[in-house]
Amino acid sequence: MMKEQKTFYESGNELAAYAAKQINYHVMGYYPITPSTQIAENLDVMKADGEHEIKLVAAEGEHSAAGICYGACAGGGRVFNATSANGLLYALEQFPVQSGTRLPMVMNVACRTVSGPLCIKGDHSDIMYMLNTGWIILFANEPQMVYDFNLIGLKLAEAVSLPVVVAFDGFFTSHQKRKCQVFADDKTVQEYLGQKEADYTVLDFEHPVTIGSYMNEPDVMNNRYQLHLAMEEAAQKLPSLFEEYGALSGRHYKSCAGYRYEDAEIILFLLGSAYHTAREAIDMLRKEGISAGVVTVTSLRPFPKKELARYFKSAKTVVALDRQDSYGAGGGNLSIELKAALQEAENNARILTRIYGLGGKDFFVEDAVALVHDAQNLNAKTFDYFGITPGIEGPKQPEYFKPLTIDEVSPGITICNYNETSHKMEVKGGILKETTAMPKRIAPGHSACPGCGIPVNLNLLLKGIEGNIVMLFHTGCGMIITTGYPKTAFRIPYIHNLFQNGPATLSGVEEAFRERQRRGEYPEGDITFIMVSGDGGMDIGMGSALGTAIRNQHLIIFEYDNGGYMNTGYQLSYSTPMGAKSSTSHLGKYQYGKTFFHKDSPEIMSAAHIPYVATVAESNPMDFIKKAAKAAAYSREFGTAYIRALSACPLNWGDKPNTERSVIAAAVDCCYFPLYEIEQGITSLSYDPEKNGKKIPVVDWLSLMGRTKHLKKEQYSDVVSEIQNEVDRRYKRLKAKAENPLL
């Protein structure tokens, strides 16, 4: 019987979140990544308003998010996740664990191209990595289907004890709003799904079980065969689940869908939102008198090969469109699987494979028309890329600068020498006005927001470091604003790597430098290697940073701490202040902002016993420049140096760009961000607000920013005093360390 529904105007991400809210999952372990982030964000908004009870756990990376989900499943919970692109790949090893041990859950994948070069837009290169993981993969090609498949998917998952991916196009489906229907009452959804009955859980003391055996042959074969059978069972159950859902909702789905394919001689075969674009094109082609149709699949695993083959009975030519490439295989996975399906059905249609729409390249109606026109040519290539351009050789590109010479970058303005007696680095110079003579290694014209703290901090850092520098940036705003192709702001050698692996990558560069130099293949002289992290990169990248520090690699890890994942629209990071609003820690009746304390990265890094740890702030620019010089000297002579700068983000801190230096000064003066350094284990305070009569309560700083100014209200006084106590406790500890060299 049809259940009551209501009309929404929402995007795919919003509908995924709404379905999750109606299901009221026990746990969502997640890590923000564009374009799937809105799912967690929307669930957080609803959580703040008390609309659901899902425990939302912001992991420190996708690998951990998948771990949280796996554990929560083993604990008998209903579990939800959402990710994209490299996040999916980072967690990839967890997925066969989940399916192989047969723990059902639902994960949404807003499909996005896999880096690098880094691109945040949509294609199917991520989802195809899932094909061999043993997960069921349903693919929704419009927002309404995202909602529906989230419900059907969970029911299927629990019916066959396999995890399910609900995939859809990043941006095209995840972000475009459409009119759609949802069940009016959450109870309808809960009744449809029923109570979860876990096969096994690790919280069952009456029936203690071991999940995750150590297993070899022949048992692994049998385990895999069981998984195969479950997938077969899923294929069998899916049609009846679709039918049952159709009766409740009035929306009827199949594993395949087609449009004007019945009598078509040329059939386009593609996945995702482009299916609908192609339908529009088919109507135009039919008007031209061309016998064309289009077919898609909505279930990638199990792959409905028998059913699919029926859609191609009349086809003489099939244009199989892949939004990813299995390089060297002569097609993307979709066209390869179609070829296999048609071969089994003894269908000998000519199949042309076209790789299209990579990196979010739009697929227009005209494109679909052109592809069919091309397919009318009997000599058309069997494989090609569609939509590539050879480039235009215009006039010679201007040379903007000469490469900076070693003499130009070594003017002797800031010199650092090691004092053998005091065992400390001593800095001469570093005078602010003199350092204006340092050439800028980063060119202007970068695309940071007006007043952004990142370039300010980079400039101060680089002012203090003479000689040759190689830089590596983690993913984040710092990287996005400087290297938007086809331009780059860097005037010195630069490399990017994804956020969990920056320090390790730079370690490799450094080792290659030393080894090549040792072999006489590289000129004499030293290089300062600088790894730049920020935007929460030290959450997901902490492991790599600690490994690098423990190996004591000769490099600087520089963190611009802007207190959030700003490059993806400000989700909380572990260094977001407690109580701060973010798009994953909303303010509401049931939530006051972020619920745990800011991460103390300098303390963590100092526990690796590296030669130099320091904190810096643009409000004390001379101190900043001198510490930069010291860090460079330590990194060249002794090993790893770590510097953390508090970095303003006017957009997401919610303050005025021109006031940022005073906001940073207030963070220092309230001791939230104390300035100190640890040289070879010995701590010294660089600036003591108490001694200078500048100490202010932490709420005075919090009140300066839109993200935290709600905390000054009486109702949040408990939160504020908790923050104040923690800041005071950390500061007292720091002072004790400064007073006692052994600490």
Binding site: G116, K177, G394, T436, P450, I481, G569, L651
Partner: protein, 367 residues
């Protein structure tokens, strides 16, 4: 609350398409969302909307797209809009700097936020075709204590000609009123004033302005493709962002340099995110030292951090329009002498998220 209206459609085109061109911070994304919702839930149409995608930045070009079709027709297309029926331009600074007029035809209704009259604007900005409607949305927004996007929304629905104002009011009450009841009056006022004060249409027919000039320019430029781009996305053009002209990021203000007050302390250089200050060796108070030679306004985004830190008020906040010739303007002095052609651009424009900041970003105002 919904009603049935007739979309002005043609034989060839069964969707009604709207494109909004703006810079981040003016609320075009939300305006697009509201128009999408208006279509879906108040006009009983099939409707979709989306914005240009990417990471979210302030002060940068943003596009929003809205597609409507009659309820009997399914909305299938999810690609950006090339030939809109209705084109809203939220910031006149975009004209001539960004291709915001792409795809206009004689049938396009263009709604432009400007202090100029439609005739003046058509000439000044080389508009080639369409019907041009103008209004000073910024002043109206300030007068009504609402925001540019609400004023533009009023003007857009007026120009469209088939959208009842009363339903748009309902939409505003529902979307704004739900979250910020205190702001509803001001926003409704902004909507009304936009509706009332938008100019009559001015039919533009400047067929002598063709796209040939642009095409000639495109022919001259060097574009990387699979034949000539270095492999792996490697970029050997070090420092090439210097060719970006970021002046469109400014929101009306510049730092003005009063050189006689400058003590050459270097604080401005320490706080500037955009490498604007051109220090060079010189003499100050009889001593050889680094001196502030001027400002590279091509790259200044007008954040005014320098004004805040300058200890002697040698840098002050000034209205850019008062200084068409900026004193102490000095291009980046590390540049090689060959004149470079700057490319007008703002910071990357991107929307990835509809976080609360999108709506509350501008000085406490909503929408």
């Amino acid at each position: 609350m919904s009603t049935q209206i007739d979309l002005p459609l043609t034989e060839e085109k069964d969707c009604y398409e709207i494109r909004l061109e703006s810079i981040g911070g003016l609320g075009a994304n939300l305006c697009g969302k509201m128009l999408g919702e208006l279509g879906a839930l108040y006009l009983n149409l099939n409707s979709s909307n989306f914005s240009s995608y990417g990471s979210e930045k302030r002060g940068s070009p943003v596009k929003a797209f809205i597609r409507w079709c009659n309820p009997g027709k399914e909305l299938r297309i999810s690609t950006p809009i090339h030939q809109p029926e209705l084109l809203g331009i939220f910031h006149e600074g975009l004209l001539g700097k960004c291709p915001v007029l792409d795809g206009i035809t004689a049938d396009t209704k263009i709604i432009l936020n400007t202090t100029l009259s439609p005739k003046e604007a058509a000439e000044r900005f080389h508009v080639s075709a369409g019907s041009l409607y103008c209004l000073d949305a910024l002043s109206i927004a300030m007068e009504s204590k609402s925001r540019v996007n609400m004023v533009m929304l009023g003007a857009l629905i007026k120009a469209a000609g088939f959208i009842p104002l009363s339903l748009t009011e309902d939409l505003c009450k529902d979307t704004v009123g739900k979250k910020y009841p205190a702001l509803i009056e001001a926003n409704l006022n902004g909507l009304h004033l936009g509706y009332e004060r938008v100019s009559d249409p001015y039919t533009v027919n400047n067929s002598n302005i063709s796209s040939e000039e642009m095409q000639a320019e495109a022919k001259n430029s060097y574009v990387w493709g699979y034949d000539n781009a270095p492999i792996g996305g490697v970029n050997p053009r070090f420092g090439s962002t210097v060719s970006n002209d970021l002046s469109p990021s400014r929101e009306g203000y510049i730092p003005l340099f009063l050189q006689e007050k400058c003590i050459n302390c270097g604080l401005c250089d320490s706080t500037c995110p955009d490498m604007v200050f051109q220090f060079h060796p010189g003499v100050y108070q009889g001593k050889e030292t680094m001196v502030n030679g001027g400002l590279d306004y091509i790259h200044c985004k007008g954040c005014l951090r320098c004004v805040e830190v300058c200890p002697t008020e040698a840098l002050v906040k000034a209205l850019e329009k008062d200084y068409p010739e900026k004193p102490w303007s000095l291009p980046n002095q590390d540049l090689l002498p060959d004149a470079i052609e700057y490319e007008k651009t703002g910071p990357d424009s991107y929307i990835t998220s509809d976080s609360y900041l999108t709506e509350k970003r501008v000085d406490g105002g909503m929408v």
